[in-house]
């Protein structure tokens, strides 16, 4: 017949020293199962209580439960201590060089023209402009004649065109034909921008035979030159910075009257004049009040409506804004160039 209280006491002391010796949560858990699990030693001891006389049984049971609770607490305390020790050592054991950032070759890049076109579109959409498109292969009516550029007009010299196929079709030399096409389909109020590729037979250090333009057209009752100025000032300052100024100079285009050239103050010299600008100004676009004959050609009555139009070169705007080295970088396929955007 075993002496139960003695066994219990022996077990309690042994357990305490085992708990204190457990060095990791796994060992501690194994110990817990060995002591307190269904087949654990303490559980077996408790089971032996049934063989005791009833007078002793209650006292021994009480004692056994006290030991069980004590050991559970000891295990929990040891677990907490082990966890604390583990956390204290984490910085040492799991130290990671956070400054090692592997080269990510996975990400591609958008073309600067896409970026500038997106920006131009956003700026104009804020003041109610929608995007219109037209074909890149055009006829002479839309590209020239409807814009007051009849055959033999000197402006055709400046816009030497590519002819396509065997007929009289050509690659559009500007986005202005979209003005005519849009007016043919819509009555005022009109507020559109027309971005796209255009083509001219020019190829030298500062010209590519293919480049981009964004055309703008606003036709409504009572449109004034001051509206053109305000619109383009809003545009230029949005794109280049609120501190910039714009300047309108006299100019000549067959499809606008009056015509103006629009320049923005140079961001490098602040307007004082430098090698990047012309005496403090950068010419960025041509504009004017839509010529009444052009309105008529688009099916709009110039007695009721007036409008302004503008055309700009996003290539040049991108060059200015992103400091592109030269116009040729627009068709530069080298990924090292593209990776900068």
């Amino acid at each position: 017949m075993a002496n139960l209280p003695e066994d219990l006491e022996r077990l309690r002391l042994a357990a305490h020293s085992q708990i204190a010796a457990a060095q990791d949560p796994t060992a501690l858990e194994q110990l817990r199962v060995a002591l307190l699990g269904k087949k654990g030693t303490l559980t077996a001891t408790l089971r032996g209580l049934g063989s005791l006389p009833p007078t002793e049984r209650a006292q021994a049971g009480e004692r056994a439960n006290a030991v069980k609770k004590e050991l559970e607490e000891a295990i929990a305390a040891r677990a907490a201590a082990l966890e604390e020790a583990r956390r204290a050592g984490l910085a040492e054991q799991e130290w990671l060089d956070i400054t090692f950032i592997p080269q990510d070759e996975g990400y591609g890049h958008l073309h600067p023209i896409t970026l500038i076109m997106r920006e131009i579109r956003a700026v104009f959409s804020h003041i109610g402009y929608t995007v219109a498109v037209g074909p890149e292969v055009e006829d002479e009516w839309h590209n020239f004649e409807a814009l007051n550029i009849p055959a033999g007009h000197p402006a055709r010299d400046d816009m030497d065109s590519f002819y396509v196929g065997s007929g009289a079709l050509l690659l559009r030399t500007h986005t202005s034909p979209v003005q005519i096409r849009y007016m043919e389909q819509h009555q005022p109020p009109i507020r559109i921008i027309a971005p796209g590729r255009v083509y001219r037979r020019d190829y030298d250090a500062t010209h590519l035979p293919q480049f981009h333009q964004v055309e703008g057209l606003c036709v409504d009752s009572d449109i004034r030159l001051s509206d053109l100025k305000g619109t383009l000032e809003y545009f230029a300052r949005s794109i280049f910075g609120a501190e910039r100024r714009i300047r309108l100079t006299g100019d000549h285009f067959p499809f606008t009257e009056p015509s103006v050239g629009v320049a923005v103050s140079c961001g490098i010299c602040g307007g004082a004049g430098c090698s990047s600008c012309k005496r403090g100004w950068l010419e960025i676009l041509g504009a004017g009040m839509v010529h009444p004959q052009v309105l008529r050609n688009g099916g709009i009555d110039p007695a009721r409506y007036s409008g302004f139009a503008f055309g700009m070169g996003p290539d040049r705007i991108a060059m200015l804004k992103y400091n592109l080295p030269d116009i040729r970088s627009i068709v530069e396929p080298d990924v090292r160039f593209l990776r900068q955007f």
Partner: protein, 786 residues
């Protein structure tokens, strides 16, 4: 156009601040591109002593004085004598953009330099020092002797040929500054109708007016130095007094002129006519040109003596011995001049003016002015004046209401001020009750509508005084915001997938243009009749050859394995169609430099997964891909992208032959889709559906099939037999290798079963799954391992 401010001063007070003047002119539409001072701080000095350079035989030392003080300079010139008055540029003086400094030549210090005529822009003589008049005051600034600077390099708009002239610019300055214009004194030529010369216009459509003046007793010689200096300042080389006068009058008034040696004109008469076929003309530049009836000539009784409005003939040119001169100032039809000038590739100061459309009113005053100068400078006497002018110019008055003027400009210019501006520009202005009536001056043909008047008033009044406003008033809603643009999202996604965007030429080389293209693209590319880029004489039908060429270029630049995309227009012209179709294409290309088939397969799989992601992110279902041997592609590794039964794209590896032609080493995988159907014309609006309330059951399936069985056919069978509870099939992996029988491949799928209304039992899933396995075995002879 080079405009000499010194010359302008003859006609108008020129503000001293040239930069401010340039600004003002630019604002008013006459852009000043550069301001050049030919010489600054160059003074008149006298040579007081000449001695050899101690260390150099080709140099000498000149002691020169400008007053009491004298300095020594080193010179290489040999034309100097003691007592000569010469231009001296001391240290600090400027010649053009060059600043003179004291320098040591072979051990002797030179305190400045003596200038040759070419260095001063006053002549061609580069060898000797320019020797000045002995009366030139010592120490005087050379600018007082030759008052030509500063010189403004101006860009004149094409509608204003009247501004290609000093008098025209002077008039604008007078208008801008509100000062008086002093036009040169001129007297009308003595119209001796009877005389030996006769002028006939046979081609009235080509010549609107022809004014002639016969001068006798002309003594040909050099023109005076002031005239030469002015011509040179304007970029024209002096030749002889007669020729110089014609050029001078052109640079003054804008009207080009010509002078014939009258005695060399057969029959003593001039005829304006079309050139005869095969007729030849030896021109003033020494070249013989073959003429055609498209060209207009000024001929004598026998043959062409000048190419009208472009260049004179050598035979009748004024020479040293000439005494009888027939001056010509004509008005030519601009388009004819332009066409001839372009056909011959010959542009002259004259043709540049005529092709912009000169007013016929300019010609008579020009001839009168030239005759007066000939009389003054070359002792000529007027013998006979001829003016053939069948339809005189009538300038129509333009009525413009003040309200209209204000409306166009957006600023209210007081009527009195508007009138004053127009009058200073020499418009005849009458006031009306609600505005004004303005008649343009005879020398301007560019004004006909109220908007033209608004422009004149606006640019002189100053566009800087126009306020900035935004248009806007109460207006009906016509447009609504539409989330239609899928472009940006697709671009961002492709960048995120590792593809960089490029912009390539629409022009393609004929032999590569159609190598690789969509099955629906035409087999022939549209030609460009007048290409400019070497060999790129067609319009592309596909973006792929351009992208592949870019991959090749990057590979050569040591950037292998580049991945690119482009979203742009292609040109699909078909025989019989008047107008080509312009589909927007999205092309994607990735280079596989290793050339390993497995690497290319992997890249292709990634590309296809990318396309699927694009569709998903614009809110669309994945598109079906059909295994197909697409032209230009690797015949075992290509397929068509199908939407609603139509082929809208192609995807695959590029055919090795195409790669060789485009000089791209390794392999490449590409895809091209018709963008609009691919994105289905915009972004879809995502539609949420309720989340599944009951758990799904997943079963994996590995199928061993013949190598060339396409997965989408397996999928189709699985869907056919999976019933309504088979919700999704994912392709997990594929394997081909030694552990499988030869000629077979294994593909693993994960099938997800789920019902919307209940928890599926394992038994009913197994039943479906078994049905699928049975079907796969039957259809493909597949060995299925569930």
């Amino acid at each position: 156009m080079l405009i000499s401010a010194g010359w302008l001063r003859e006609y108008v007070d020129v503000p001293a601040d040239t930069a401010a003047l340039a600004e003002r002119l630019t604002l008013a539409g006459m852009e000043v591109e550069r301001i050049q001072e030919p010489f600054v701080d160059v003074v008149v000095a006298e040579v007081v002593e000449l001695r050899p350079h101690p260390n150099a035989t080709k140099l000498q030392l000149a002691r020169v004085k400008t007053g009491d003080a004298s300095i020594e300079v080193v010179t290489g010139a040999t034309n100097l004598s003691k007592g000569d008055r010469v231009p001296l540029a001391r240290a600090g003086a400027r010649l053009g953009n060059r600043t003179i400094s004291a320098e040591v030549f072979r051990g002797v210090r030179s305190e400045g330099m003596l200038c040759s005529a070419i260095e001063l822009g006053l002549g061609e003589d580069a060898d000797g020092i320019m020797v000045l008049d002995r009366k030139a005051p010592l120490g005087a600034d050379l600018r007082t002797l030759f008052p030509i600077g500063p010189v403004l390099d101006m860009e004149i708009k094409s509608n204003r040929p009247d501004l290609l002239a000093h008098l025209g610019i002077a008039r604008e300055i007078a208008a801008l500054y509100g000062t008086a214009l002093r036009p040169p004194a001129s007297r009308p030529g003595r119209a001796l109708a009877a005389g030996p010369a006769s002028i006939t216009i046979e081609d009235a459509e080509g010549c609107r007016r022809f004014v002639g003046q016969l001068m006798h007793g002309v003594k040909v010689g050099p023109s005076p130095s002031w005239m030469q200096a002015r011509l040179r300042a304007a970029g024209v080389r002096p030749i002889s007094n007669v020729v110089d006068i014609t050029n001078y009058v052109m640079l003054e008034s804008g009207q080009p002129m010509h002078a014939f040696d009258y005695d060399r004109l057969a029959g003593g008469r001039l005829v304006v006519r079309r050139a005869r076929a095969g007729e030849r003309l030896v021109c003033l530049d020494g070249k013989t040109r073959e003429l055609t009836p498209d060209y207009l000539v000024v001929a004598d009784a026998e043959r062409a003596q000048a190419l009208a409005g472009i260049i004179g003939g050598a035979d009748s040119a004024v020479q040293a011995a000439t005494t009888a001169v027939l001056l010509e100032a004509a008005t030519w039809e601009p388009r004819r001049i332009r066409a001839t000038s372009r056909a011959l590739g010959l542009r002259s100061e004259a043709s540049a003016r005529f092709e912009r459309g000169l007013s016929p009113a300019l010609s008579k005053p020009a001839v009168d002015r030239a005759a007066a100068l000939l009389a003054e400078i070359a002792s000529g006497t007027e013998v006979q004046a001829v003016d053939v002018y069948p339809v005189p110019l009538v300038q129509r008055a333009i009525t413009v209401r003040s309200a209209e003027l204000d409306r166009i400009l957006g600023v209210s210019v007081p009527k009195r001020q508007a009138s004053s501006i127009l009058e200073r520009l020499e418009f005849a202005v009458k006031s009306t009750t609600d505005g004004l009536r303005a008649t343009p001056p005879a020398f301007r043909l560019d004004c006909s509508i109220p908007e033209d008047i608004a422009e004149e008033v606006g640019r002189i009044y100053g566009y800087d005084r126009v306020p900035s406003t935004l248009p806007g008033e109460r207006r009906p809603v016509i447009d609504v915001y539409q989330l239609a643009d899928a472009d940006d999202r697709v671009r961002e996604l492709l960048a995120g997938l590792g593809f960089s965007e490029t912009v390539t030429y629409s022009f393609a080389e004929a032999h590569t243009a159609t190598l690789v293209r969509l099955p629906s693209a035409p087999a022939d590319a549209l030609t460009v009749r007048n290409p400019i880029l070497e060999r790129r004489d067609t319009l592309r039908v596909s973006l792929l050859s351009g992208l592949l060429a870019n991959l090749a270029l990057n590979a050569r630049q040591d950037q292998p394995d580049t991945r690119l995309f482009e979203l742009a227009t292609a040109f699909w012209g078909r025989a019989g169609d008047a107008w080509p179709e312009e589909p927007r294409l999205l092309a994607v290309a990735a280079h596989v430099s290793s050339g390993q088939p497995e690497a290319a397969a992997q890249a292709l799989r990634r590309l296809e997964a990318g396309l699927r992601l694009l569709r998903q992110r614009i809110g669309r279902q994945p598109l079906a891909v059909r295994q197909a041997a697409v032209a230009g592609f690797h015949q075992g590794r290509s397929g068509e992208i199908i939407r609603e039964g139509a082929v809208i794209g192609a995807v695959g590896e590029v055919h090795p032959g195409v790669l060789r032609t485009l000089e791209l080493p390794g392999r490449a995988v590409v895809a091209e889709v018709l963008f609009d159907p691919f994105v289905e014309y915009g972004l879809a609006v995502p539609q949420a559906s309720p989340l599944a309330r009951f758990p799904d059951i997943r079963r994996d399936l590995t199928v061993i099939v013949p190598r060339q069985a396409a997965s989408n056919e397996l999928l189709q069978v699985m869907h056919e037999h999976g019933g309504s509870t088979l919700r999704e099939i994912a392709m997990l992996s594929e394997y081909e290798g030694p552990q499988l029988p030869w000629g077979t491949r294994s593909i693993s799928f994960r099938l997800v079963y789920q019902a919307a209304d209940r928890t599926l039992t394992a038994a009913e899933v197994s039943e479906r799954h078994e049905a699928i396995i049975t079907a796969l075995r039957r259809r493909f002879g597949a060995d299925v391992r569930a």
